[in-house]
């Protein structure tokens, strides 16, 4: 906890810890992706040894790291998991749904442990304890391995003797699957052996699996070594020779022995007690019975019993020692060639770019000053050229920094895939999640804030959208529901769609529910368009479900979704067809750091309104203003547009000073047209997620791309501003939080409406 406090006085140890946690997070993310892939494979009834291995390695690395940093809970969990995964990759237990569930739960637990380490949440002690218990249970179920007669093959007893347990298992599995076995003898130059071996592995991969490789002890000299490589493959020998062959490579098939005579080197597994595999030990009592009564105590046949005899065989201890490090040590190295950077450092760089932009402005002004001067013509030309070059490089730098901030949406999609799996298992609804565009990139900060809203939306889709299996069959839909998660870039925005093929949303039902909950007046309800009706689901307190499920239906969620997305400068839209499905579309700016704004002037002050939340700006024609229920409104394109005077909203009426300066020139009075009429004013129509408010301003200054900065904590209580930016001339402009202001204005409209309502009722008038 302390290591995340404020970033001051961080010792080297704290920094290392921080890096540990962020590396652990990366590993856990990778783990989650591999598990999802494994889940897919297992759904199709297959298995993927390489994936199981990846998962095993990830957990192994986590274990190493966490014990290094004294993260006891994480290392304890990793230890148990590692055992489970070891059993899995050695084929001692099967990749059942139960095991997969445990693995997914472990990923969740890792996530919570990491959150706890940042001080975001309490340590999930109970959860981890339960998980450890469950992992232990599974370990009880592990069975022995049926012996496969390696004796049928012309294999060198020396080689068989030094196979690790895992290699033995892979060899067995491949032979059982009917693959052919090939032996390659390859000459390697010692100084290139690492890369050459990797190359060969990569070339072999499409054809089969390398079981093991050993130095032959022959054919080598001081500078080279000969390895014997055992490959299991379906590819015919001739093809394999063409694909892999080379001057230093000899490939031959390992032939089967005609009779398969008994061999003393056959794996000793034959002597193991029968596995308590499918005899009812899955139940509590069964397991207990097995523990107490089974004559050869089944609780965990220690892996070394199984592996001991081959290892004990003194056939070739030297090569064994040579091979071990390469496989184990690699796992502790960082996998990717990337640098983790604190996003605040990038913000700092962006600030410097902002400063440089101001310098650029000054250079431009200097150029303007000298350009008219005949004597300085050369200087002016040079200055102009310099300015252009400066500008170009600055833009490149800005884009470069922005690019660094970008991360693929896949980061959050993986998490969602896990949640979909979990929820669909819990509720017995089968869901097929189809993800496209996970490579779409968006600002890191946005990705972090996206996971909660998307999770709400997906939960809603599963709970309210996708029907029960029976119902789906009845209406002729496939029994498995589909949720599509699509992302793509559209101009300066990223669009994310959450689409389900469920029952859809009936606007009439929504309006009914809204009336029952007092969210809408019956009289108003009649005038709602379909789009407006659907948008009611975003109102606080809305729900169509009467029962509260653990998923959603508590009437919270969608309003939070809209608020959170709004905070990111985005909007949510819904389209839905009854019986066909619902599609929610989130549109977000690509980055939070740079936004396009419209500069407006109000009471002598400059404010920036994000263009993303502006529909349009129109000339303010006061003659068209109507007073409706105590509020000023305009009729705009056939719809009522509530108006808000920004000066009143900000309490700026009357005093005209906006910027304090020691030698402040008196602020200019608002421009008065020569005819003496009131100066022309404008209405900027703010639009956030279907809600519109017209903001009356004095002047439109122009459009600009700005670097937005957060206001300090001491201004956290101030509502209505998303941040501030430098406008040049050392001046700071405030950036308006349109979503917050619109909500504020509309809320006060509601109050006004109530006030207007009551006297009418008192007067006994009929509505």
């Amino acid at each position: 906890m302390a290591e995340h406090g404020g970033g001051r006085g961080d010792s080297a140890g704290d920094k290392a810890r921080e890096e540990f946690f962020s590396e652990a997070q990366e590993i856990v993310d990778g783990l989650s992706r591999d598990l999802l892939a494994l889940d897919e494979v297992s759904k199709r009834g297959g298995s993927d040894a390489e994936l199981v291995n990846d998962v095993f390695r990830a957990v192994h690395t986590l274990k190493g790291l966490s014990s290094l940093f004294g993260a006891a809970m994480m290392s304890g969990l990793s230890h148990e998991l590692e055992n489970l995964l070891d059993d899995l990759r050695l084929g001692r237990i099967e990749l059942s749904q139960q095991v997969l569930d445990l693995l997914f739960q472990s990923v969740e637990a890792y996530g919570r442990i990491l959150a706890a380490s940042k001080g975001d949440a309490p340590e999930p002690a109970a959860e981890v304890k339960a998980l450890l218990g469950a992992l232990g249970q599974v370990a009880q179920q592990r069975g022995g391995v049926a012996a496969t007669p390696f004796t049928q093959y012309e294999l060198d007893p020396g080689m068989l003797g030094v196979l690790t347990e895992y290699e033995e298992h892979r060899l067995r599995t491949n032979l059982q699957a009917g693959l052919s076995l090939y032996r390659m003898r390859v000459q390697f130059q010692l100084f290139t052996i690492d890369s050459a071996l990797d190359e060969l592995k990569a070339k072999t991969r499409p054809h089969g699996e390398i079981i093991t490789f050993l130095p032959t002890g022959e054919g080598g000299d001081a500078e080279s070594v000969e390895l014997e490589i055992l490959v299991a493959s379906r590819t015919p020998l001739a093809t394999l020779r063409t694909a892999l062959g080379g001057p230093n490579i000899v490939i031959e098939e390992v032939s089967r022995r005609p009779g398969g005579r008994p061999d003393s080197l056959a794996p000793p597994a034959t002597g193991l007690p029968p596995a308590p595999y499918d005899d009812g030990t899955q139940t509590e009592s069964g397991a207990a019975a097995a523990r107490t009564s089974a004559p050869p105590p089944p609780p965990s046949i220690p892996s070394d019993v199984l592996a001991a005899p081959p290892f004990a065989s003194p056939a070739a201890p030297a090569p064994q020692a040579q091979r071990e490090p390469s496989a184990r040590e690699l796992t502790l190295r960082s996998v990717t060639q990337t640098v983790r950077v604190d996003i605040r450092k990038l913000d700092h760089l962006m600030n410097i770019v902002g400063e440089l932009a101001i310098v650029r402005g000054s250079v431009a002004k200097l150029f303007e000053r000298v350009r008219g001067d005949e004597e300085l013509r050369d200087v002016a030309t040079d200055l102009h050229r310099l300015h252009r070059a400066f500008e170009r490089h600055l833009t490149q730098m800005q884009n470069g920094i922005l690019e660094v901030r970008m991360v693929p949406l896949g980061q959050v999609f993986d998490k969602l895939a896990r949640i979909v799996r979990q929820i669909s298992r819990e509720h017995g609804k089968e869901i097929n999640l189809v993800i496209t565009g996970s490579e779409t990139e968006i600002d890191k900060l946005i990705v972090e804030e996206l996971s909660d809203p998307l999770m709400h939306m997906i939960r809603n889709a599963i709970d309210h959208g996708i029907e029960e299996k029976d119902e789906r069959m009845r209406v002729g839909k496939p029994p498995v529901g589909t949720i599509a998660l699509n992302a793509f870039q559209k101009g300066n925005h990223v669009v994310i769609e959450v689409e389900d093929d469920g029952r859809g949303m009936d606007p009439a039902l929504i309006v009914d529910a809204a009336i029952r909950r007092g969210l809408v007046d019956e009289s108003d309800a009649r005038e709602l368009s379909v789009k407006e009706a659907l948008a009611i689901v975003f109102e606080p307190g809305f729900t169509t479900r009467d029962d509260v499920t653990s998923l959603s239906g508590r009437g919270v969620g969608m309003d939070i979704v809209r608020t959170n997305i709004g905070k990111l400068g985005g909007v949510v839209d819904i389209t839905s067809d009854v019986g066909i499905g619902t599609k929610m579309t989130i549109t977000l700016p690509i980055t939070l750091a740079i936004i396009s704004v419209l500069r407006v002037e109000v009471a002598g002050r400059t404010f920036c309104m994000p263009l993303a939340s502006i529909e349009e700006a129109i000339v303010f024609d006061e003659s068209l203003v109507r007073i409706f229920e105590g509020r000023e409104v305009l009729t705009q394109r056939g719809a009522t547009l509530p108006l808000a005077h920004l000066d009143k909203l900000f309490g700026l009426e009357g005093h005209r000073q906006g910027v304090y300066m020691s030698d402040a020139p008196t602020p200019k009075p608002p421009p008065v047209s020569p005819t003496g009429r009131k100066p022309r004013r404008y209405v900027v129509i703010g639009l956030v997620a279907d809600r519109r408010v017209g903001f009356v301003v004095d002047r439109l200054v122009g459009q600009q791309d700005i670097v937005i900065k957060a206001l300090g904590d001491s201004l956290a209580h101030v509502r209505g501003f998303a941040g501030a930016t430098e406008l040049g001339d050392q001046r700071v402009g405030l950036v308006i939080d349109a979503a917050a202001l619109i909500a504020e204005v509309l809320a006060s409209v509601g109050e006004a409406r109530q006030l207007v309502h009551e006297p009418r009722v008192d007067a006994g008038g009929t509505l």
Binding site: G6, I352, V659, L711, S714, A724, Q730
Partner: protein, 162 residues
């Protein structure tokens, strides 16, 4: 503005030859109106001439606004308005902004004039109880340097926590 009470000690020499055996703490003294205040010099990151400060609507009256210092956004507080000795913010030629590091941001304190640095011995610092009356969290004590001035010593942390 009456600055008569601001005592600028001419006799700096007296301070210089001060007894080094005693623990001394350095304070930066400044004026708010006609009163002299001081904060420990270690808490001040920088002293700036006023830059343009943009007013933040809806903020507390003690918030002058925000300004940019080399690309960093700084919230500026008017201590006179915070201490309710003034109703409006005035920025004069002598005004300065003291940059101080609050837990999560940089704060600028607007003062009317920066006086000098005092190195006070423990004996020259009276506890806040010396003022009597209600104890204010931001008052750390009263400094009585040998030149005869009276400094209200401020404790800044409570001001940030608001």
């Amino acid at each position: 503005m009456n600055r008569a009470m601001a005592r600028r000690p001419e006799a700096r020499g007296a301070l210089q030859r001060a007894d080094d055996l005693e623990t001394r703490t350095e304070y930066l003294a400044f004026l708010l109106g006609s009163e002299a205040y001081a904060v420990q010099i270690g808490s001040i990151a920088e002293i700036l001439k006023p830059l343009p400060i943009t007013e933040v609507p809806r903020a507390r009256p003690s918030v002058v606004g925000v300004m940019s210092v080399r690309g960093r956004l700084v919230t500026v507080l008017d201590l006179k308005r915070r201490f309710r000795v003034a109703d409006t913010t005035e920025i004069e030629r002598t005004s300065r902004i003291l940059l101080v590091d609050a837990p999560d941001e940089t704060i600028g304190l607007l003062v009317d004039e920066v006086l000098q640095v005092y190195r006070l011995t423990e004996a020259e610092v009276e506890p806040p109880t010396a003022l009597g009356g209600e104890q204010l969290a931001y008052v750390a004590g009263v400094g009585r340097p040998s030149d005869g001035s009276v400094l209200l010593l401020l404790n800044l942390q409570p001001l940030f926590a608001e």
